[in-house]
C-alpha cells in the first residue's frame, strides 16, 4: 500500500477532515473576536465564557423547557448576544477612553466569574447533550466514517463565516461600521448613531460565540471548562491571522485546525502546543500577523 510519510493516504484524508472540523470552531470563535477587536478595539477575554454560556443555554432549554436543538440554534445566540449588549452598555462602554489593558482585564474578570458560577452550579464533568435526531448517524466516505453532525458543523460554520465577511466588507452597513472605527466623531456627525452601532457589534460578536457553543454542545460535554480549554488557542489564531482582520481570522482558523490535525498523526504529544509554536514564528517574521496591516 502506498504511504505518505509512513501514513496510508486514506488515514491522512481522514485526519485532514477532522482538522477541518476543529478548524470550524476556531474560525467561528476567532471571527467573533476579530469583529469585536476590529470595531471596538477591545480584546474580549470573555469570549470563551460566552461560548460556554451558549452551550449551557442550549442545554438548559432542552432539559428545563423542552426546547430542542434547532430552536436553541436561534435562541441561544440571541440570549448570549443580549448578555453581551448588557455587558457593553453597563461596563465596557465606560472603558473606551482608557488603555486596551482595562478592557482586557474587565473581560477576563467577567470570564472568571461566569465560569466560576457554572462550575459551582454544575461541576466540571459536564452535561450530556444528544445529537439532534435529524443529524444522527453518519456517512462512510471510504477512508473514514464521518458523523453527519460533524459535516453539518463544517457547513454551518462556513456559511456563517462567509456571510459575516460579506456583511462587513461588502455592504452599506459594513461600510458604516468600518468608517466608524476609523473616525467615530466624523461618522456621528453624519447622523449615524455610533454608540448603538458599537453595542450591537459587540452583541453580534458574542452571539457568534454563543452559536459556536450550541454547535459544540453535542460534540463535547456541556461543561464550564469548555471555553477556557479553547479560548487560548483561539487567541493564538487571531494573533497569527492579524488582529482585527476578518478574513485573516477565518482562514487562519481553518488552516490551523488542519495543521493541528496533522500534528496529531505525526507527533501527537505536541498537538496542544503546535499552534503556539507557529504563533511565535509568525510574530518574529510578521509582527502584525499573516493578514494584518502594520499601523
Amino acid at each position: 500500500m502506498p504511504t505518505i510519510f509512513g501514513i496510508p493516504p486514506q488515514a491522512l484524508f481522514g485526519q485532514l477532515l477532522l482538522g477541518l472540523i476543529n478548524g470550524s470552531f476556531y474560525a467561528l470563535l476567532s471571527l467573533g473576536l476579530a469583529v469585536i477587536f476590529g470595531m471596538l478595539n477591545v480584546i474580549n477575554f470573555a469570549h470563551g465564557a460566552l461560548y460556554m454560556l451558549g452551550a449551557f443555554v442550549a442545554w438548559l432549554l432542552m432539559t428545563q423547557v423542552g426546547i430542542g436543538y434547532w430552536w436553541a440554534l436561534l435562541l441561544a445566540p440571541l440570549a448570549v448576544g443580549a448578555v453581551g449588549v448588557l455587558l457593553e452598555k453597563s461596563l465596557l462602554s465606560r472603558l473606551y477612553k482608557l488603555d486596551h489593558l482595562y478592557g482586557l482585564l474587565l473581560t477576563f474578570g467577567i470570564a472568571l466569574m461566569i465560569e466560576g458560577l457554572f462550575r459551582h452550579l454544575y461541576g466540571v464533568s459536564g452535561q450530556p447533550y444528544p445529537i439532534p435526531r435529524e443529524l444522527a448517524g453518519g456517512q462512510n466516505l471510504g477512508f473514514m466514517f464521518l458523523p453527519n453532525y460533524r459535516g453539518w458543523v463544517v457547513a454551518a460554520s462556513l456559511v456563517v463565516c462567509l456571510a459575516t465577511w460579506y456583511a462587513i466588507e461588502r455592504t452599506q452597513l459594513g461600510a458604516y461600521l468600518r468608517a466608524a472605527t476609523e473616525n467615530p466623531v466624523l461618522v456621528q456627525a453624519f447622523g449615524i448613531n455610533v454608540p448603538r452601532m458599537v453595542t450591537l457589534t459587540y452583541g453580534f460578536g458574542v452571539a457568534l460565540a454563543g452559536l459556536a457553543g450550541v454547535l459544540a454542545a453535542p460534540i463535547y460535554q456541556v461543561s464550564p471548562l469548555m471555553g477556557s480549554n479553547l479560548i487560548i488557542v483561539v487567541f493564538a489564531v487571531v494573533v497569527i491571522g492579524g488582529m482585527g482582520s476578518i478574513l485573516g481570522a477565518v482562514l487562519t482558523g481553518y488552516g490551523l485546525g488542519l495543521l493541528e490535525g496533522l500534528t496529531k498523526v505525526f507527533y501527537p504529544e505536541a498537538s496542544n502546543i503546535v499552534v503556539f509554536v507557529i504563533m511565535a514564528v509568525v510574530l518574529m517574521i510578521k509582527p502584525a500577523g499573516l493578514f494584518g496591516r502594520e499601523k
Binding site: 486514506q10 463535547y220 480549554n229
Partner: protein, 405 residues
C-alpha cells in the same frame, strides 16, 4: 485514712501527668488534615470537595477529637500542577502544622508531594492518584496508597477483556506519569494473558477533541481500544467514540481502564452502557456502603466515587492509628497503621503492606443499560470480586526499596 487519701492523690496526679504526656505528643495541639486535590479542573468531580467532605465525615465519627485534641480539616487546589502541589504541601507542613495530606489525584502531582512528605516524615494518604510506582520505585515509609492503582486496573479490566477474546490492543494514553504507568501495567497483563499490543498514541492531558486519536485506533485494526486516561479525558473519548461509531460496528471494543462513577454519571447510560471497568468501591453493594453513601449524598448531592469513599476510609484509619499510637508523629503512626487491619464500610480486613499499599478487594463491574437501571446512580452491575492479593502487587513485585530493607 490519711494514707489512703495520699495514695489516691498520688494516683490521680500520676494519671493526670500521663494524660498530659500523651496529649503533649500531638504537635501544635491539633491534628490537622490537609485535603489537596484538583478542585476546579478535569478531575474535580471525582475527588474535589467531595474528598474533603468524606474526610470530615471520618472526623465527625471520631467526635471531632483524638487524644483529647481537636481535629481540623483544610483543603486546597493543586490545579494539576506538580510545582503548585509540592509548594502547598511544604507550606502546609512547615507553616500551618499540617500532619497528614490526603487525596492528591493526578499521579504527577502525587509523585512530587510524596517527595515532600518523605523528607518531612509526614503521613501521605493517596486516594486520587493511580500510578503503582507510588508504592514501587517512588515508595515512602510514610506514604499510603489506598483506593486503587494502575496494577489493579490492569488486572481487573485488562485481563477480563483478553479472556473475553480481545487479544490485540491499541492504547490512547494520557501523556504523563499516570497514563504511561497504566499503559505499561496493562500491557504487561495483556501479554501475560496471551494478548498483543498493536500500538499506542499519546494524547496531551485535557484534550478537547479525541476524534483524531480514535481514528488512528480504528485504523490500527486492534480488537480493543484501551483508554489509559481519566476524568474529563475519558468522558470525551467515550462520547466521541460513540459519535464516530467505533463500537457499533462490533469489530472493536472500548476498554475504559480508569472510569469513575462521576464519569458514568456525566456520560449518561445511553453512551456508557456495557463498558467494563474496575473499581475499588460501589455504593450499592451492601447496607453499610449504602448507609454511608446516603449520608454523603445528603451533604454533596452526589454518590461517592471510590476516591471519595477511600478518603473517608484512609482518614478514619489514620485517626484510629493516632489514637492507638498515642501520638501524631509521622513514622510512629505509619508503623501503627501498618499493624492494624482496615475494617470499615470501604474495606473488609484490608491490610497495609510494608510499601504502603492498602490491599483490599477490587470489583469488576459492567455499566448497566438504560433499561436495567432503576433510577439515578443505579449504574453498575458487579460481575466479579477480585481478591486483594490478586489485584495488587506483592512487596517483592512492587520494586519498593525501603520495604525490603
Amino acid at each position: 485514712m490519711v494514707k489512703q487519701l495520699l495514695v489516691g492523690a498520688a494516683l490521680a496526679a500520676l494519671s493526670v501527668s500521663t494524660a498530659q504526656a500523651q496529649q503533649g505528643k500531638v504537635s501544635a495541639d491539633v491534628v490537622k488534615i490537609g485535603v489537596l486535590n484538583d478542585r476546579s479542573g478535569l478531575y474535580a468531580d471525582l475527588g474535589g470537595e467531595g474528598s474533603a467532605v468524606a474526610a470530615r465525615m471520618a472526623v465527625e465519627e471520631m467526635g471531632g477529637k483524638v487524644l483529647g485534641k481537636p481535629i481540623e480539616v483544610i483543603a486546597a487546589d493543586h490545579q494539576n500542577k506538580p510545582d503548585i502541589g509540592s509548594n502547598l504541601a511544604r507550606q502546609w507542613i512547615d507553616r500551618d502544622n499540617v500532619d497528614v495530606i490526603v487525596d492528591v489525584p493526578n499521579s504527577g502531582v502525587a509523585l512530587a508531594v510524596q517527595e515532600v512528605t518523605r523528607e518531612k516524615k509526614k503521613i501521605f494518604l493517596m486516594e486520587g492518584p493511580a500510578t503503582s510506582s507510588l508504592t514501587g520505585s517512588a515508595c515512602s515509609p510514610t506514604g499510603f496508597h489506598w483506593a486503587y492503582d494502575t496494577r489493579a486496573l490492569a488486572v481487573g479490566t485488562g485481563r477480563a477483556m483478553v479472556q473475553e477474546g480481545g487479544k490485540n490492543w491499541f492504547f490512547i494514553t494520557a501523556d504523563y506519569a499516570f497514563g504511561h504507568q497504566l499503559e505499561a501495567d496493562t500491557s504487561a497483563e495483556i501479554k501475560k494473558a496471551g494478548g498483543t499490543i498493536k500500538g499506542a498514541v499519546r494524547a496531551p492531558l485535557n484534550t478537547a477533541d479525541f476524534s483524531s486519536f480514535l481514528l488512528q485506533a480504528q485504523s490500527s485494526g486492534a480488537q480493543v481500544i484501551g483508554l489509559a486516561n481519566a476524568g474529563g479525558d475519558t468522558i470525551t473519548s467515550i462520547k466521541q467514540a460513540s459519535e464516530f461509531g467505533l463500537t457499533q460496528s462490533g469489530q472493536q471494543k472500548l476498554a475504559g481502564l480508569l472510569i469513575f462513577l462521576s464519569d458514568v454519571h456525566a456520560l449518561g447510560l445511553q453512551v456508557a452502557q456495557d463498558l467494563v471497568l474496575t473499581t475499588g468501591f460501589y455504593w450499592d453493594m451492601d447496607d453499610e456502603k449504602r448507609a454511608w453513601s446516603k449520608k454523603f449524598m445528603e451533604k454533596t448531592g452526589k454518590m461517592p466515587t471510590m476516591v471519595q469513599a477511600g478518603s473517608y476510609s484512609a482518614v478514619r484509619h489514620y485517626l484510629k492509628a493516632v489514637e492507638a499510637a498515642g501520638t501524631d508523629d509521622g513514622p510512629t503512626v505509619a508503623a501503627k497503621m501498618k499493624e492494624m487491619p482496615v475494617n470499615d464500610m470501604f474495606a473488609k480486613n484490608g491490610k497495609i503492606l510494608a510499601n504502603g499499599r492498602m490491599v483490599h478487594d477490587m470489583y469488576l463491574a459492567r455499566v448497566k443499560k438504560p433499561s436495567e437501571s432503576k433510577g439515578p446512580w443505579d449504574y453498575y452491575q458487579i460481575i466479579r470480586t477480585i481478591p486483594g492479593d490478586e489485584a495488587f502487587a506483592t512487596v517483592a513485585e512492587s520494586g519498593c526499596k525501603i520495604a525490603s530493607q
